[in-house]
Every structure is written in structure tokens, then in C-alpha cells.
Amino acid sequence: MFIHLENICFTYSLGMPFETEVLKNINLEIDEGEFIGLIGNTGCGKTTLIQHFNGLLAPTSGKIYVEGVDLNKKGANLKLVRQKIGLVFQYPENQLFEETIYQEVAFGPRKLGLPEGKIEKRVKEALKMVDLDYNLYVERSPFSLSGGEMRRVALASILSIRPKMLILDEPTANLDPQGRDNILSEIKKIHYNFGMTVVLVSHNMEEVAETVKRLLVMHRGEIIIDGTPQEIFEKHANDLVKVGLGLPQVTECMHKLKAKGKDVYTGVLTVDDAEREVLKKMKKPIKR
């Protein structure tokens, strides 16, 4: 078990006039090698939750273990935890500050005290992981890039720390469809090619559904559903609609077919799956 959360509760501005309880009794286990989507409406506490994973926020009550180490015990090495768990914030392009992209990506490894040779290797490796050409980009200023490119540099600056686990807070927010697809396919690659544990935070059901292997649905500070996307779309479609998250359009289409009396499997995620399923259930298969 990589991360283990036990009865986590969290309240912002405890004891102040505007105190708000944001997390309510969260229990969660994440294993190494998982690919998890965390989805929920605006303000349900996703960002707050993931900031507990690497000790940026400490729970009001409850316990967090990372590889068996209690994060809130005195003397816990949070630096080491933050090295293991790379957290990419929302709009990470707003945190760039160095003169060149090389320096930007080298920031993390340099803070680890690595020798220059190793740093260069890591920068090359990280830029490659996000599909930026090393020679074309290293000397450019991060502020001269497009929004999508800046975001990839920001992602690379976390990858260069070589975390075991990568958490991304709404990595596709504010990107055009192409930038969105690029980032998502890079994240998939990082998971499948490099075996990294990934948590992808989002409020877009379509993009999460076809990307992740396990889905956590949050609502008002609680994790209300936990399972594979197929399971959830098949069995918990009503709950999803009730909390206002909705289903991917293809899935909704299959549910409507089912409601009309067609016996189709409703746990489909992509148009291709849906097509196969519908063709299978047709009495007279169409010749293609």
C-alpha cells in the first residue's frame, strides 16, 4: 500500500469567523501502479484532499500514511515524501520563474543536491517525457511559451524529481481540445511506459472516464463512489446524475437504450465500445 488515509477530516480557518468543514471522514487506500481519477463538482474538496497526500495540509483529525510512515508524527521526513509524491498544481504555468527552461526543470533536482551531470540527464529525460525537444527548448525563457507548452514545462519540472507517484490537479483546465488531448496522452504514456502511479483530478467526466482505471467520485467533502469507470457507469449512473456530475454522452445513450427495453451493457466508456455493444445486440448484424 502506497498511501493510506484513515478518517481524514479537514476544516479551513479553524476557529475563525469563516470556518468551513471541507473534508468529512475520508478513508482511502492507493496502491503503487494505480491510475486513479478523482472527480467532483467545483468546491467539493478535491484540491484540499490531494494537498494532504504530500503533507502540505495537515488534517484536523485522522491519519495519513505514505509507505507506512505517519505524516503527522513529529520528525516525519516530509521532504522525502514530497520527493516521492509529485504534485502538479492547477495552472502550474503560473509558478514558473527561472530564466530558461533548463533552469526551470533543473530546479527540483538541484534542490536535491545532485551533481550537474545528473541534473542534465534528468532535465533531458523529463523534457522527453512531455514531448518537448531538448535542443529547441532548453535555452528559451519559459515566459515566451504558449499556455500549453508552459504547462508541459511545469509538468517536466515535477517529473525531473523522479517521483513514484504523480498527482495532477486539473491538468487540462483552460486548454483547447488539442492541448487537452496532448496532455492527456502524455499522462497516459507516463503511466503505461514508466509505470508511475497517477492521480488525475478533474471535473470532466468524459476525459477521466476513458483515461483512468479507478475512479473516485467526491461530493461535498466525501468520497461517495469508488470503483472502475465501467462499474460506476453501469451501477451508479443514478447517483452520478443526482450529484450533478452526469455521464459521458455515449454512456448516457446506452442507458437510454436500456430504458427503452434494449438489453445492452451500460458500462461503456468510448464510442467504439458502444458501437461494438450495439452491433452485438442487433438482431440482424449490419455488414460493414
Binding site: 514558473l96 536535491l112 515535477i158
Partner: protein, 265 residues
């Protein structure tokens, strides 16, 4: 990081009370009157009367005293520091001696007087900001400053700058916290090292903060221009300030109290 959240300065707490509903100009002028008399008083009894006046105002304002007194916390150090300096540094009749340090009666009196002065000063100004929304506060300042228009004081522009500055304080604090967390996640360390290293470690916070602030200022300027903002000349107000009977009565009461206290004590 916790420090950033605990700054209660300028935090408005909406309530429906006599103090909240006063004209902001009256509130500002009353505060000024109290502050001036604070510096004229030389006796404890004067501070006692003025202090009770402010305490009664706090009760009338329905703002929980906890929040008013919270304004003291960041400045408590300064108050204690001045008290200690006065205790030990004033010449006079020695009432307690500890090695070469001596406390004198005059020092005790002077130190306490100055502490009371600072104490009441902070309470008064925090009550003003807690019980007056930033908008009406700047409205009040604008109207008061426009008295000096004949000497070329750009009252509206000053008030507009203050409004914008006040509006963006919480945003900047929030953003600082977010950037700090993000850089910590990237391996930055703000808690160890000597003072030079610590200063250098602030660069990853300051640069993004400034870049974002400039961009935001730019966007705000464009948005204002798009809405045809053109400065103060001939601009009307959505909320016209009007002096009511309670305003006059309150102001009269404050002036009578402060003048009496300043003259008699």
C-alpha cells in the same frame, strides 16, 4: 503559511448595527478625533474614559470583541517592547532593582500610559475597519479628501487606488500561499538555512507573484477601459452618502467626549 490567514486587518464583518450604519465620513472623523485626543491626554483617568467609550462602541457594533482584540495580536510585541523600554530607561525614583536594571516609578507610569495609548489606538482603528465595508470606507475617504480638491488633490484617483489595493490584498495572500505550496512540492525549502539563503529562497515565490500581479493589473486596466472608465470628473455615485440624524448625534457625542477628555485630563 498559517500567518497569512490570520491577518484580520481590513477584514469587514457585516452586521446590522448603529455603528455599521453610520456615515463613513462620520466614522473616519470620529476616529481621528479619538486619536488626536489620545495624544493630548496625560492621565490614566482620561484613558479610562476614552477606553470605555471605545469599548461601548464595540458592544454597540455587535462585532464579537474577539475579532476586535485579534487586531492587537500582531502589534502586541511592539506594545510590550515600548513598555519595557520605558520601564528601564526612564530616570527617577527607583522602586525595584535587579542588578544594573532598575525600574522607576516614572518609567512605570510613562510605559503604562503609552501602552494604553497604543492599545486604544489599535482598538479604535480595528473597529473602524471591522464595522465599515471597504467600499464605503473608500467612499468616505474620497468625499473627505475632495475638500482639498482646490489645491489639486486627486481625491477620486486616490480613493480608486485604495479600493483596488484593498480588493487585491486577500487575492495576493491566497496566491502567495498557493505559489508557496507549489514550490514546496517542487522541492523548495522556506524553513531552513541562514538569512541569506532564506532571502534567496523567496525568489521562486516573488517572481511568479509579480508576474501574475502585473498581468492581473493589465487585465483590470483593459476591463475598466472597456467599461468606459475615465476617472473622477463628473462621475456620479451609485450610493450617495447622506448625513442622517444619528450621524449628527453620534458625531456630537464623540466630539464632546474627546474634547472634554483632552481638556480636563
Amino acid at each position: 503559511m498559517r500567518i497569512l490567514r490570520n491577518i484580520s486587518f481590513g477584514q469587514y464583518i457585516p452586521r446590522d448595527s448603529l455603528i455599521h450604519n453610520l456615515d463613513p465620513r462620520i466614522k473616519i472623523l470620529s476616529c481621528l478625533a479619538i486619536i488626536v485626543s489620545l495624544f493630548l491626554i496625560t492621565k490614566f483617568s482620561g484613558y479610562l474614559i476614552l477606553g470605555s467609550f471605545v469599548l461601548i462602541s464595540i458592544i454597540i457594533s455587535k462585532v464579537h470583541p474577539k475579532f476586535v482584540f485579534r487586531g492587537l495580536r500582531p502589534l502586541l510585541f511592539i506594545i510590550i517592547f515600548t513598555l519595557i523600554i520605558h520601564l528601564f530607561m526612564t530616570e527617577g525614583e527607583v522602586i525595584y532593582q535587579l542588578g544594573f536594571l532598575k525600574i522607576t516609578r516614572e518609567g512605570l507610569v510613562k510605559g503604562l500610559l503609552i501602552s494604553f495609548r497604543l492599545f486604544i489606538l489599535i482598538l479604535t482603528t480595528s473597529l473602524l475597519t471591522l464595522a465599515t465595508s471597504p467600499i464605503s470606507l473608500t467612499d468616505g475617504i474620497e468625499r473627505l479628501l475632495s475638500v482639498f480638491k482646490f489645491i489639486g488633490m486627486p481625491a477620486h484617483e486616490i480613493a480608486m487606488m485604495m479600493t483596488i489595493a484593498l480588493r487585491f490584498i486577500p487575492t495576493l495572500l491566497e496566491e502567495t500561499e498557493k505559489i508557496m505550496k507549489a514550490q514546496i512540492s517542487r522541492g523548495a525549502d522556506f524553513e531552513s538555512g541562514n538569512i541569506f539563503n532564506r532571502a534567496k529562497n523567496l525568489i521562486p515565490i516573488l517572481i511568479p507573484l509579480f508576474v501574475n500581479a502585473f498581468r492581473r493589473a493589465d487585465e483590470l486596466a483593459i476591463a475598466m477601459e472597456a467599461k468606459c472608465y475615465r476617472g473622477g470628473e463628473g462621475r456620479t455615485h451609485y450610493r450617495e452618502l447622506k448625513i442622517k440624524k444619528t450621524d449628527i448625534l453620534t458625531f456630537a457625542l464623540t466630539i464632546v467626549t474627546t474634547v472634554t477628555v483632552s481638556v480636563m485630563f
